[in-house]
Assembly symmetry: C2
Homo-oligomer: 234 residues x 2
DNA sequence: CAACAGGCTAAACAGGTGTTCAGTGTTCGC
DNA sequence: GCGAACACTGAACACCTGTTTAGCCTGTTG
């Protein structure tokens, strides 16, 4: 077998042989296992999946928490890369759906969902990035006249991201796929069921009058006018 | 083996006037502990909270799973009662918010959220009941001319419930309150932040044109006219 | 009074957990 | 060749888990 354990990894795009190292195999197995069974999965389970001994997992990563962190970093790096590559075709809040369709990435999507479920770092980071992106996209959409302006753009974006990701998370949690690996099936089912009402709500709204909105505005006072200066901590 | 507590007495029908009994104290402590720390909390933790020995917990409930089931039943019964009492003032998807404001019920709300997070029975039941209720309320709202009719009423209701509960769950998961007991603070913060954009979306929509909706309708074919009841296979 | 019953507990059990340790080979620089 | 560094493992350790066992203690009943 090749040694080639030099720290310098070749950034070759096509030939990527060095991911057969035990460390990489463990990391991949851990991401998959955590996505499947949640972060309570045992080190022994990860080791078995990777075909190594539990001691080797600790030897390479130091502890289970460190392994968890390494998985987080790994997935975050993958998200950053995927975001760059899919910038064009995945607009707005549909990044996850697009990614989930690629079987290759499905386990990673599962990991993100698990992290959101557990309130972990990856989930938080993913949601925040999603909000930042969505803010940009909606601003463009407003400029182009595709989307209506909002009384509070930032708050609207937060709401849109929270409701879309939250509903997806809830749907997957309530109706977990038989094989925990193919999250894409669950995501697809979610989209099939709920895409129409979402689109309908987005184009036509839900209420017939402005009464509730106006009453609320009167009650809480005016929201930040247009481009709010800054938001002091409450 | 001799069964210590004769299984003759059916729980629920037994008239237990003093809820100061150890069994009741354990049940209450378990609901609170599970809401606080999730269902991974140990039997010993519950026992300590209740001021009893771990053995007594098992003695009264048989096993940890049985204790979990008993908690579920307890909370479900409470939900049913609260729904009956608050039918009038809590309309639509705002039941949880109303209930969360009553400090007395806050831990129970926390339990419901935990169960939704874990995909447990209480969460599932709660969501389904919520959908049933919301369907009734929106039907009334449509009749009264307050809400616009939908291409698929059932799907819209499901979407509304999933997005409101899902966004709440995600918000609480991402920003857990310092003291896990007062969920009401987190719920209140969620409402303060996201109620305006929600209301805005409901009254004005988001998109300026019907193009995306029409394109989608053309793509998937017409939705079930009126009361469609079929579930498309994946 | 004695005898029994049941709520209740301390202690232990069996099993799983993350982690450590001593010791395999195998490979590399000298 | 040598010795060191390396990836790697089986076995153990200490701890925590749910659960069981034996027995205490109190109240009731004969």
């Amino acid at each position: 077998m090749r040694s080639a354990t030099g720290g310098a990894e070749e950034p070759g795009t096509v030939a990527a042989p060095p991911d057969t190292s035990a460390r990489a195999r463990i990391l991949e197995a851990a991401v998959l296992r955590f996505a499947r069974s949640g972060f309570g999965a045992s080190v022994r389970a990860v080791a078995t999946d990777a075909g190594v001994s539990p001691a080797l997992v600790i030897h390479h990563f130091g502890s289970k928490d460190k392994l968890h962190e390494a998985c987080d970093e790994h997935v975050l790096a993958w998200i950053a890369k995927s975001k760059r590559e899919n910038m064009g075709k995945a607009t707005g809040g549909r990044l996850l759906e697009v990614l989930a369709q690629a079987d290759e990435f499905a386990p990673l999507v599962g990991y993100v969902l698990r992290s959101m479920q557990a309130g972990g770092a990856v989930g938080k980071s993913f949601v925040e990035h999603m909000i930042d992106d969505a803010e940009k996209y909606t601003a463009e959409a407003v400029e182009q006249g595709l989307a209506k302006p909002s009384l509070d753009e930032r708050a609207r974006v937060r709401y849109l991201v929270y409701s879309s990701l939250g509903s997806l998370l809830l749907s997957v949690t309530m109706n977990p796929p038989d094989d925990p690996e193919d999250v894409n099936t669950a995501v697809r089912a979610f989209m099939d069921d709920l895409y129409l009402p979402m689109l309908e709500l987005f184009t036509e709204g839900f209420l017939t009058t402005r009464r509730m909105l106006d009453d609320y505005l009167l009650y809480v006072g005016d929201p930040p006018p247009g481009a709010g200066e800054d938001e002091p901590a409450a």
